[in-house]
Amino acid sequence: MANAHAHEPGLLRRYVFSTDHKTIAKQYLFTGIFMGIVGGLLAYVIRVHLATNGQPVPGFGAVGPQQYNSVVTMHGTIMIFWVAMPILLAALGNFLIPLMIGARDMAFPRLNMLSYWIFFLSTVILLVSFFVPGGAAAGGWTSYPPLAVSPQYSGETWGVALWLLAVALEFAAFLMGGINFITTAINLRAPGMRLFDMPLMVWMQLSASVIFLFSVGPLIAGAILLLLDRVVGTGFYDPARGGDPVLFQHLFWFFGHPEVYVILLPGLGAIAEILPVFARKPIFGYRMIVYATLITGVLSFLVWAHHQFVAGIDPRLATPFSVTTILISVPIAVMLFAFIATLYQGSISLETPMLWALGMLVVFLLGGVTGIHLGSAASDIYLHDTYFVVAHFHYTLIPPVVFSFFAAFYYWYPKMFGRRLNEVLGHLHFWPTLVFFNLTFLPMFVLGFAGHHRRIANPQFFEALRDPTLVRMQWLATVGAVGMLVAQIPFLVNLVWSAWRGAPAGENPWRANTLEWTTPSPPPHGNFAGPPVVYRGPYEYSVPGRSEDWWPQTLAPERGAGA
């Protein structure tokens, strides 16, 4: 297997400043997992603070009201921008897109390397902002002005400026990554691979990158204006000088809602790859899912104001946005039902990747349906900014970020690291996480219906919230949160133990059809010896007339045999 590069790159070149998409994927992966631990610890602080009614949190100390706002803000910011996007979009996308379409590497390898290091710089700036005087940003992960630009009320000094700088750099990194993903998927497909022969994971990464690219622009403009307001003192969002705080809300949510589909779609892509392999059955309605993804992408640009029904926008705007928001549940339902239909008459084996994938579907359904409560404008009057919203977006974000990611991680770990993860530890990781996740967030629906508003440091201050049932719900949620964190320990053990002691993976441990399983594990630099030639779609499982129940894309059709 002639290595394309004659010279062997030095250690620094191969591991730190590498332009190999697989190494960059691992860099994003480990940064994302590290930030996931940081975000998880912040969640621990929030939950224990709320359950013990403001007692000092063991391991963190007392949490004042300003600190609480800062911890909540940074928990949200880190989990969405520094965990969800790196691990789902950058890690899986970088590793899988070239391998799945038969390319040697990304279209612009140096740009890809630059994107990680700009992302790394943004991570450093964000972590530094915890320790600057005045603490980190404290205006909510949405950092609405005027609070974001008035330190006298938010209590921070350098926090928001650093936060804006870190988020702007992170956007720049993901724009570079996005351009790489789109150009690679469009232009570097192996001979014979038409667009409709691409695995759904590539379709989802492509759509997510396109949606991100087109939605982030106005927010970058808005964030520049917000940074100028905060640092220079201009009045872009200051009503006294003619500005309008609602303008930033619009610019933010024009990006915000497409952003949650940027996070969801790669999660659904992982599910679309895993279900057929473990049910040994073609995905149900490949083209239907592709069209549903494209419709979801377009609709996601028409729904943003459902975050602002009661935020002071013109009430007449609410009805059209309420209709489009509820309509977007249809293409998502098409995809979810297609995944469920894939299991019909399948031959399902419940190894860890499949467990996580099915867990994602089971949990995400509740997230999807509770979106209707918030999508219909009238019921949003009551539920907006309550714990119902907190429960809803955790039920729609954690399934892709945790469940789909772990499904993808357990599924592609053998290909990435050449060894298999331990199944027992995998099951030991899945079941407690599923149980404790539901224990954490189901009570929040009850809190939401009771009218418990969000982002408050001590709910017991309010007489109505001292109701014993509500206090018990907060306590249950905390037990769930701590349990969910502890349930990640088997994963970390598995991650480290299998890297050295896991069973060798071989080229195709799961007997799957897609191109990445035709390369050695881990694939060498340059992935394929010569460009692989593709003869069929990626989901030809249990084809009648074939002895084996799978049919790799690169296997030439034998003349005469029942091709």
């Binding site: 469009i186 396109v210 087109f214 939605s215 622009g217 106005p218 006294a240 309008d244 609602v246 303008l247 619009h250 610019l251 024009f254 640009f301 028409l302 943003w304 104001a305 002071g312 926008i313 013109d314 009430p315 007449r316 705007l317 946005f321």
Partner: protein, 102 residues
Amino acid sequence: MTSEADRPAASHPNYVLIWGILVSALLVSLFLGYMDLPVVAMVLIFTIAIVKAWLVIAYYMHLKYEPFFVVAIVATGLACLYFLFIGLVPDIVFAPSKGGAP
């Protein structure tokens, strides 16, 4: 080095001629700027701006000779801005009421 073979022969419009059109359009809009017909001048000025932009994009950037999906990239960007503009007009331009204590 990508050869020009994959570009249709008519891809060499007379660049200097187009430059001439652009400059004259600029002079017209400058002249309109000094007239004090507020509405008419504005409509004409922005039409000229769009024409100038189209000339640069179509001929200088060769978008006219690109396949459809490249044109679609630019069009999608403009469509997103159009959605944003339409969604914001009732709320930012005609804010429900600008009263209230300062």
